[in-house]
Subunit: 420 residues, 2 copies
């Protein structure tokens, strides 16, 4: 087995990871005179902002995933390899992968991050992360299975354990999944499981003093009010210390019994060997200069969640790990590669915040754009448009829109299949 | 744990298996004055005629699957239990299940069948069956993975092994999956894997002397001509004797190297304990009288693929294991249960053949209705309408139609995700 790609006289850019950042970067290099090799362990690109809707049975995995080969059909000098990347051999200018070594002239690391359980092995083993569409499917299957189990459980205490859902993390992901599950509780459970109608309880455990800490206080209080209104139990200032034998332990001594814990409270960068030890920063992020070049390496860039750009006076702790940052860094790195080969000066990365938003439920969202603070239906419509625009492929856009409209008008998703 | 269903003074009909037959039967008992308990190991009903389209990435699992609880929303006195059925306790008039015993006044077995490998352990372990949507997904994932592997394989002989697909069975399922994969070969592979454009070979191995043996000779020759035209290698009169280490062994001494063998050549009935030994017939089918009552049992019926009705002079070997038979038996048994409780005479089952059809590809199908023999576009359109009508749920009908139209007009499915 070997990677099987012939050098063809062009300089080769190898992109590791075809998430939002890697994909944008590769696309930016179309017709730029480079050979581009995209490496990913999956054969599809996925759209993280909507994974929670896969979990709540509102969307299909295929609605927010797109085959990488399909994306690059017709791109000249583009190659895709489905492979795991094991290490960088900086001396050889090559990466070691599960399909053999791949040489690079430029290497871009865009491997993103994974769930950070902060060393809590029990949580890592038993809680559900929400970083991939496969995570989303797994959570969906689990919730449907526990509902089936609850129906046949005689012991009332044990049944309640099946009916309690605990979400750990009060950021946008936590708020979104809490809202989506609250709608499932209100619209689906009473119809499909009449005996369990009022039994489901959703707890949102948030370590900081308010939800959506990265947003404005007004957005936080709007989100909290909406969630409470939908029956979600919001617990601010609670920190989870452990999760074992279906019991969640809180630092204030309280406990919650639950067979379903969703963990959306932290992220750590994916790891690749062969990076100088001193270049790995907080939570595994690779320390970069303002051109996203990894410290102590040559012709190696890191972008998005995997990177931490140093030296920006406005972002002393690095930029937030958001889709926008990844997308903007991708475009900047692509253009810098071209610039430097043309003898032009490279441009340092400057983050432009286009606004942040989080959806809470049907016709409920919060959005911050510049100094504007939006809530309610307007924010929700904006959220819809922005996300629909970002989803790859005409067909996927169309089908996601149809799914949403369908659910909007009849309140009943029919994707509740336990498929393994 | 217990099944947790209170008797409420009504007679209880327990239906095991919510496939085409079980579902039809349960629906026929709506508002009939019975308590109906549906038991299935999955929480969804699936539509077998289109599983091959899941395998060829033309449809999503959720397009042809439907949550059972959703189907019976609003049905009074209907209960669903997701459970495995282990045995019948005829003396107690109860079934033993994974959620505890469930008593019945009438029991209907509609558990269908599974793939028959005819005792060939190697094939059972390594070949892909095509009986469930999960089978379909598994085959889809496998084919996409072998294409990825072929791209990085240096050894040409080994690469060809990845590119050969062998389908065992020349009935409708074999013809349909061969046609669908031939279209994948023609429309998808050259675009997604330019280096593998002409390398894929599809073999259809058929033990009998012609394809679609249950249909007319004219339909057989049409199907064979169409498949050959699409590049499928049809091998009539070949019988597979073994499949190991990626080699398919044929009874005529020939061999085929292939890492992908699809096995659609036989069916055996699913098994439940507690049936008198003498009541189990060919390939596990339960021997029934003409009212679908299992021989030697009281108030126990079997329908569809799991049953074999004796005593019909027109069908001395039993009826074919087809959707139509299951549906018609379901309706007849439901009405007979009501009749017998009202002191009316039960009606023996009489099979009415409404016609048979098989699709071969885009605008290619064969159909036989009464004495009419259709081919080409007309048969294909008919096939489309008939199957669309049979799919449950407005939303599913609508989405399947959209998927088909989409694929029809742009020849490119985008469901090629390797999701596990």
């Amino acid at each position: 087995m070997r990677a099987n790609i012939k050098k063809n006289g062009l300089k080769r850019v190898v992109v590791v990871g075809c998430g939002l950042g890697g994909l944008r970067l590769a696309r930016s290099l179309r017709n730029s005179g480079y050979q581009v090799v995209i490496v990913d362990k999956n054969n599809y690109n996925q759209f993280p902002p909507l994974i929670y809707q896969v979990a709540s049975a509102g969307l299909e995995p295929s609605n927010i995933s797109f085959p990488i080969r399909r994306i690059f059909q017709g791109y000249k000098h583009f190659y895709f390899r489905m492979a795991e990347v094991k290490a960088i051999d900086a001396g050889e200018k090559a990466i070691a992968t599960s399909v053999g070594p791949i040489h690079y002239d430029y290497l871009v690391l865009a491997m993103g991050g994974t769930t950070n359980f902060f060393g809590n092995k029990n949580a890592e083993q038993h809680a559900f992360p929400m970083k991939t569409v496969v995570d989303g499917m797994r959570l969906r299957n689990h919730i449907l299975e526990t509902l089936e189990r609850a129906e046949t459980e005689e012991d009332m205490a044990r049944r309640q354990k099946y009916m309690n859902v605990v979400i750990v993390g009060g950021g946008p992901s936590g708020v979104e999944i809490a809202g989506a599950l609250a709608e499932m509780k209100r619209n689906i459970v009473p119809r499909d499981y009449p005996d369990l109608a009022d039994k489901m309880h959703i707890y949102l455990i948030n370590a900081s003093d308010r939800l959506l800490k990265s947003m404005d206080e007004k957005s936080s209080s709007t989100a909290e009010a909406e969630l409470k209104n939908m029956g979600v139990h919001v617990r601010n200032g609670w920190r989870v210390t452990d999760y074992k034998d279906n019991v969640v332990y809180i630092d204030n001594g309280k406990t919650l019994e639950s067979s379903t814990v969703v963990w959306v409270s932290g992220i750590k960068a994916n790891v690749v060997e062969g990076v100088p030890e001193g270049s790995v920063g907080h939570a595994g992020r690779l320390l970069c200069d303002r051109f996203n070049r990894v410290k102590g390496m040559t012709d190696v860039f890191a972008i998005g969640d995997q990177s931490l750009v140093e030296g920006d006076p406005d972002w002393k702790l690095g930029h937030p790990q958001l889709a926008q940052v990844a997308l903007q860094q991708a475009a900047n790195v692509a253009s810098n590669i071209v610039k430097s080969d043309n003898g032009q000066e490279m441009k340092p990365f400057v983050y432009k915040n286009l606004g942040t938003m989080a959806t809470i439920g049907r016709r409920r969202a919060v959005a911050e754009i510049g100094s504007a603070r939006l809530g309610g239906t307007l924010a929700w419509l904006l959220w819809l448009v922005v996300h629909l625009r970002s989803i790859l492929g005409v067909k996927n856009k169309f089908f996601v829109l149809l799914n949403w409209m369908w659910n909007y008008f009849n309140y009943m998703q029919s994707l509740r299949l336990i498929l393994k």
